[in-house]
């Protein structure tokens, strides 16, 4: 139904994102597209959805050549896209976001009642539950994801593109989404699905196309291809190292949290009498549906805000009132969930992003030593296999996964005594994810206390020594990570159906 023929794309800055890509997508199927970070997946989808124009090549739908030159034109062709980075407006309501550009009118005005009804109708039709009147910025990421999907479906959509839609969803939410997608396919939609998670691809797709460095490296029906083969097509060679989980190295907790309470304005951030203890060498995993208080917990532990009650101690000594700077000087490191908002600056160079914070170590008298900084960064680029033009390129020129590696390298490289990692591998290809996970484990092994927050239960179960489940700002379970612990066992706690604290 959709045919890509000889599609190439060179960005104005000279990056060749796609070269001579050609394959077809059958109508009424879910078609997966896999590839490592920066392989060109998003670029190809942006071309289909009218956000970018191809430098060469053509696309046809049902045999008709098409050349969508704006999202509007693509929508007219029945193409809707859920973007990897949401295209939502924080200060608008859910309804306004979903219907932006196609509002029902009454005279010159937006017909608010009708708009609201339409959103409720959409939500019911696709069983995606949203509050039509909520301001978007107050929603959890998962809820925003639903809004983004509803938005894509709100225009008479026949081709739905999902660019890593599950990266921010918890497993129950992912399952729910998959059921919807299957239903959508059955109702005749064609779905293009991008994911780094092979399990998901296997569960959903009928066909998979793999991209490597902008070229098609494989295209096969799911039934005719093994996971290993996909991994090989994506990365050139397969290989996942087995992880040996670290063990706590002392009985003394490095970080102790008692009765921690945060009465934030945003309900998603609230905390209610949290108790935690993290020992050196231990990775404490935090599970929970997005918006269960994780963000508040991270804010308080990183000194971004002060709790309303309770205490935090490092090595038994209270750090009440300490701000981020003070905690960092004690040995805090933090890999944030939102890498571009908090983790770095697109405008600054890779060197500057990689060494910000540590820059005071690179001083000669009052001056910084740029050479030494660049050299260190070169080392990071090599060690973390960052695909980039060089250490002086702006961070914005990197694909998201590669940017994530630079930011991780900075945080891991500061010799932390307490490391908070928040969704460390979200949106990252398998090889890079393995690499980052290895680094986390290695840090723990060297005696760092690690707090791991992840929406990816497999990741939590792979890395954590213990897992604590948050629900509505409270700890509902604290479980040792033994072989009996499975995603299925965690599910009820995460949804607040069971409590075992």
């Amino acid at each position: 139904m959709i045919r890509f023929e000889h599609v190439s794309k060179t960005y104005p800055n000279g990056t060749v994102a796609l070269s001579d890509v050609g394959f077809s997508v059958a109508a009424g199927t879910i078609h997966a597209i896999c590839g490592e970070n920066g392989a060109g997946k998003s670029t190809l989808m942006k071309i289909l959805s009218g956000l970018e124009l191809p430098s060469a090549g053509s696309i046809s739908i049902n045999g008709e050549p098409v050349r969508p030159d704006s999202p509007r034109a693509a929508a007219a062709l029945g193409i809707g896209m859920v973007h990897q980075h949401f295209s939502l407006i924080g200060s608008l309501t859910v309804t306004e976001n979903i219907l932006l550009g196609q509002e029902p009118r009454r005279g010159p005005f937006v017909d608010r009642a009708k708009a609201r009804a339409r959103v409720l109708d959409l939500a019911a039709r696709y069983s995606l539950d949203v509050d039509p009147d909520a301001k978007l910025a107050t929603l959890s990421v998962a809820a925003q994801q639903k809004v983004e999907i509803l938005k894509a479906l709100s225009r008479d959509t026949r081709i739905l593109i999902l660019d890593e839609p599950t990266a921010v969803l918890s497993p129950p939410e992912t399952e729910e989404l998959f059921r919807r997608l299957v239903a959508l396919r059955e109702s005749g939609l064609t779905i293009l699905f991008i994911s780094h998670k092979l399990k998901e691809v296997r569960a959903l797709a009928q066909q998979v196309t793999t991209l490597r460095a902008g070229r098609v490296s494989g295209d096969a029906p799911m039934s005719a291809i093994s996971d290993d083969e996909i991994a090989r097509l994506v990365m050139g060679e397969a290989g996942t190292s087995a992880i040996v989980r670290p063990e706590p190295q002392s009985a003394e907790a490095r970080i102790t949290v008692r009765g921690l309470t945060l009465r934030a304005r945003d309900a998603n951030d609230r905390l209610d009498a949290i108790d935690l203890a993290i020992r050196p060498g231990e990775i404490l995993g935090i599970a929970g549906v997005d918006g269960s208080g994780q963000r508040g917990l991270v804010k308080v532990l990183t000194g971004a805000c002060q709790p309303d009650a309770g205490m935090i101690a490092w090595d038994g000594k209270s750090v009440a009132g300490a701000n981020t700077g003070a905690l960092r000087r004690r040995g805090l490191a933090h890999l944030p969930a939102d890498r571009f908002r908090d983790g770095g600056s697109r405008r600054l160079t890779l060197t500057e992003n990689a060494l910000a914070g540590a820059h005071r170590n690179y001083r000669f008298g009052p001056l910084l030593k740029p050479r030494a900084m660049i050299e260190t960064t070169r080392g990071i680029i090599d060690r973390f296999a960052v695909r980039c033009p060089g250490p002086l390129a702006p961070l914005g020129a990197l694909s998201g996964g590669n940017a994530q590696k630079i930011i991780a390298a900075r945080e891991f490289g500061s010799n932390p005594r307490f490391l908070i990692v928040d969704q460390p591998t979200r949106g990252i290809d398998v090889a890079a994810a393995n690499f980052i996970q290895d680094q986390i484990v290695a840090l723990a092994r060297s005696g760092c206390a690690v707090l791991l927050l992840s929406a990816d239960l497999d990741e939590l179960l792979r890395l954590s020594t213990r897992i604590v489940v948050l629900y509505a700002g409270r700890i509902v379970a604290s479980l040792p990570n033994d072989p009996e612990l499975t995603p299925a066992r965690l599910g009820p706690f995460m949804l607040g159906l069971e409590v075992a604290a």
């Binding site: 956000l51 704006s70 999202p71 509007r72 693509a74 929508a75 896209m81 973007h83 949401f86 295209s87 939502l88 407006i89 924080g90 200060s91 608008l92 306004e96 932006l100 550009g101 509002e103 009118r105 010159p108 005005f109 937006v110 608010r112 938005k151 304005r265």
Partner: protein, 298 residues
């Protein structure tokens, strides 16, 4: 000595250009374009109104010309920032320079005088007596009998609020102003929305200029806006993104100005009096920001 009867109309007069221009800044700011060139647009509007009303002997046509002149300059700014992709702030500054030079030049070409259009028989916009209110004893003279643009400015506040909050265009403006990439990905025609907002901004600027040259006085004189555009920029920022807020800020600015004007001659050195209208808004902003900060802390 300060008589309320005289002061209220004075406040309205002083505030009117600030409200009109402030709304202009507000509209374009909501769409993400800080209209530094508002001063120049006002100046162009002031001149166009005078010239056309003199030529046609019709004040309304003069007003229309003023609005259009503001919009034309807004279109020029749009060409600079959208077509040529020049720096927004610098383009605004350049537009102000160009408008000052251009209006002087045009005035010279038309009248042989660089300073004032007094040789043109231009008209003024009428004062409006509000039918019923006019008869109320004290309130009547306070609320009635102002320039038509004063009422237009006040009336425009809810209209702008509705435009921004209730119409598809307003929705698109807010989306574009907050996150142009996301809006573009959704299919909002970012360019068209910004150009429209800028043109509306130009219309308001033209009206503000017309008020000066066809309401306050009945002529155009060189650089007669005297920095009011910049005060309007401040009014918009002080309004925290709301049309009503912009109006409140403009009224605050106008009130301090009007009061200090009528305080002249009481022995306070005039320079110090002239500083007050610039200090009070800062104070007001600090108090407001402090209250907000305290509120947010809880």
């Amino acid at each position: 000595m300060i008589d309320l009867l005289g002061l209220v109309p004075a406040i309205l007069r002083v505030s009117t250009p600030l409200i009109l221009a402030g709304l202009g800044v507000h509209v374009s700011s909501r769409a993400g374009v800080l209209n530094i060139g508002i001063e120049g647009m006002m100046l162009a509007g002031a001149l166009a109104g005078v010239v056309i009303s003199a030529l046609t002997q019709n004040a309304w046509l003069g007003l229309v010309a003023a609005l259009l002149a503001g919009a034309v300059l807004a279109a020029l700014l749009s060409v600079a920032i959208h077509l040529l992709r020049a720096d927004l702030v610098l383009s605004g500054i350049a537009l102000n320079m160009a408008a000052l030079a251009g209006t002087t030049l045009a005035l010279f070409a038309l009248t042989g005088d660089k300073g004032i259009s007094s040789s043109l028989p231009s008209l003024t916009l009428p004062m409006v007596r509000l039918p019923l209110i006019d008869d109320i004893p004290i309130l009547g003279p306070l609320l009635s009998g102002h320039n038509v643009l004063t009422y237009a400015g006040l009336l425009a506040v809810p209209l702008v609020a509705i435009l921004v909050n209730r119409t598809p265009l307003g929705l698109a403006m807010r989306a574009v102003g907050e996150n142009p990439e996301a809006a573009a990905a959704t299919g909002v025609p970012v360019l068209r929305v910004q150009v429209t907002a800028l043109l509306i901004s130009g219309l308001f600027a033209g009206a503000a200029g017309a008020f000066l040259s066809m309401g306050y006085v009945s002529w155009f004189s060189q650089n007669m806006t005297a920095g009011r555009g910049f005060i309007a920029l401040a009014a918009d920022v002080m309004g925290f993104g709301y049309a009503w807020g912009t109006m409140a800020a403009a009224l605050l600015l106008g009130t301090t100005e009007a009061i200090t004007l009528s305080l002249q001659g009481f022995g306070v050195p005039s320079e110090l009096l002239q500083a007050i209208p610039y200090l009070v808004p800062v104070l007001a902003m600090v108090i407001h920001a402090r209250r907000r900060k305290r509120r947010e802390a809880h």
